[in-house]
């Protein structure tokens, strides 16, 4: 079997509103993939399609080889899902709720019993087995939500913003819990919090306004995010000296020139510390050296703009 989750050209319209467009990706067995994007990017929509709650307008999604539309029930039986809102029956006890969820997932009574014991231990809910869910704090409800998602040991675990709306200590605990539980599962996790993906995921898909705009390892993304401004400048003048002069400007991290030295009209790419606008200094340097400034512009990276909309700071989120 290729991937545990295969998503091809998913497009979803709500009425005339285009929520996601041509989303394609694949998740291999055992991978933990982060779905990172600002609010309204289309994360929940994508997850609802993968879990069979919503049908796509175009495109296909398959889990464990079963199409979510044609073989919906088989596909769904391989999924554990924690929706963004953590829906729970507040008038049931933790144990009663888990037993119900196990039963509708088709588990055998004996296995339900053993697994309830195991997930209650894993999610540290031992003291609350017979507590009504309505009496639990948000953080504990989150644990109950996670417990039901992993109860039947699904092949694929889908977690929609699992740390949203709970206090910072519980966020840390919840992440640890996901990390512990993710071991054997294939996990798709959505978040709008940047540090969360680096903590939990092997791979990150970045979604913005319904489109997947990048796919990478968290480490590479981190490098791309290192706060830099990019400038492109075209100069008529000697190449080596120009490179040297540009490098000396305060705040410049790196200068590269892609054209070779034959011509004296060259384009230089400058990386500078974030927050500095080097355009005045660069133009003055060029002029004072007696060279001609042919072009000078800031290069805006679309990925960085998206990052600006993400929550990079934990404090903002809570």
């Amino acid at each position: 079997m290729a991937g545990m989750v295969e998503v091809k050209n998913l497009t979803k319209y709500y009425g005339n509103f285009l929520a996601i467009e041509d989303v394609s990706f694949e998740v291999k067995r055992g991978e933990i993939v982060g779905f990172l994007g600002p609010n309204g990017a289309g994360k929940t929509t994508t997850m609802r399609i993968i879990t069979g709650f919503l049908p796509p307008t175009y495109g296909t999604a398959a889990v464990a080889g079963y199409d979510l539309v044609d073989k919906s029930r088989q596909a769904r039986s391989h999924i554990g899902y924690l929706p963004e809102t953590v829906p729970l029956y507040l008038d049931m006890t933790v144990e009663g709720y888990l037993a119900f969820m196990g039963a509708i997932r088709g588990m055998k009574p004996n296995r339900i019993k053993t697994r309830i014991g195991e997930v209650i231990d894993a999610c540290r809910l031992g003291d609350y087995r017979r507590t009504h869910i309505g009496k639990l704090s948000k953080g504990f409800r989150q644990r109950v939500g996670i417990a039901q998602a992993v109860l039947h040991e699904p092949d694929v675990l889908v977690l929609d913003e699992p740390t949203i709306g709970i206090d910072p200590i519980q966020v840390v605990e919840t992440r640890q819990l996901i990390k512990d539980l993710s071991g054997s599962h294939t996990v798709i996790l959505s978040t709008h919090i940047l540090p969360e993906v680096s903590m939990l995921c092997n791979r990150v898909l970045i979604i913005n306004e319904g489109l997947i705009v990048a796919e990478d390892t968290p480490k590479e993304l981190g490098n791309k995010l290192q706060g830099v401004e990019r400038l492109e400048v075209e100069i008529q003048g000697p190449r080596t000296e120009a490179l040297e002069a540009l490098q000396k400007i305060r705040g410049v991290i790196e200068v590269t020139c892609s054209t070779n030295g034959d011509s004296d009209r060259n384009v230089y790419k400058i990386q500078a510390r974030r927050g500095l606008d080097l355009r005045p200094t660069v133009s003055r340097t060029v002029i004072s050296n007696g060279w001609s400034l042919l072009n000078l512009q800031l290069v805006s990276m679309s990925l960085e703009e998206i990052f600006l909309k993400l929550t990079t700071d934990e404090e903002i989120n809570v």
């Binding site: 069979g52 899902y81 729970l88 029956y89 507040l90 008038d91 119900f100 509708i104």
Partner: protein, 243 residues
């Protein structure tokens, strides 16, 4: 089938832990008790029962109790799932939509049957003081169970259409009052229209049962009503899924 049973059992337990259900059961007992005493009020004078049957009681349950009992018992069943979002977990588990609907229907019927079982006490009293005919008693119970099933399925459809329990209850109350009084409405029009309107009414098909006649067409009427409304409920869940 196991899924249906699981869902039914969850809702049945839900009824017995909900104060609303106890209030409803209490009102059912009080009202049926009152109707029963009225229909045999010579019990107060100690004379033999003039009419040893539950005819009056069954009619009154159908007209005065089920139109509010069914909405109250069903309003929560699907509306609440949609309000708190648990419908998302229910519909993403490997359960078929009709299993969900049937499970909820069975739960509401179980509660209704449990309430109805309390009227068996009146049968005992009839046996004790009079000499009731068994046939009309049995057919009367069959009739009211079918009538109740139809009423519950109407309520379930209303509950699937909204996430607000009150809206669900008012909708099914409206529908049931309409279906109950179609027979009266039929008298206002003439000819074929009168027949059609009359035949659609829920009360039209009920009298035979309390008189001891089990007519297939009447049984088919109530079963069709149930099938149609349960089917519409399943479709309504599906369109929610497909929206």
């Amino acid at each position: 089938m196991r899924n249906t049973a699981t869902i039914a059992w969850k809702e049945i337990k839900g009824y017995f832990t909900s104060p609303v259900a106890y209030v409803v059961a209490l009102m059912f007992v009080a009202l049926t008790g009152y109707f029963f005493v009225r229909s045999v009020d010579s019990i107060l004078t100690g004379a033999n029962f003039p009419e040893a049957s539950l005819r009056g009681l069954m009619r009154q349950i159908s007209i005065f109790i089920l139109p509010w009992l069914a909405p109250v018992l069903t309003m929560r069943l699907l509306a609440e799932e949609q309000k708190i979002g648990t419908i998302e977990l229910l519909l993403t588990s490997p359960v078929r939509d009709w299993e969900v609907v049937l499970g909820k229907f069975i739960a509401s019927m179980t509660f209704f049957l449990a309430a109805l079982a309390m009227t068996l006490w009146y049968v005992l009293m009839l046996e004790w003081r009079g000499n009731p005919e068994m046939g009309p008693l049995l057919s009367g119970y069959l009739g009211i169970i079918l009538y109740g099933g139809a009423a519950m399925s109407v309520g379930l459809l209303a509950s699937s259409l909204t996430s607000n329990q009150i809206v669900a209850a008012v909708t099914s109350l409206g529908l049931l009052v309409l279906l109950t009084f179609l027979e009266v409405g039929a008298d206002q029009v003439t000819g074929v229209a009168s027949t059609i309107v009359g035949q659609l009414g829920m009360t039209t098909h009920f009298d035979d049962f309390v008189r001891g006649v089990v007519d297939t067409s009447n049984v088919v009427y109530y079963l069709s009503l149930m099938a149609v409304f349960l089917f519409l409920t399943v479709r309504s869940l599906e369109t929610r899924r497909w929206r």
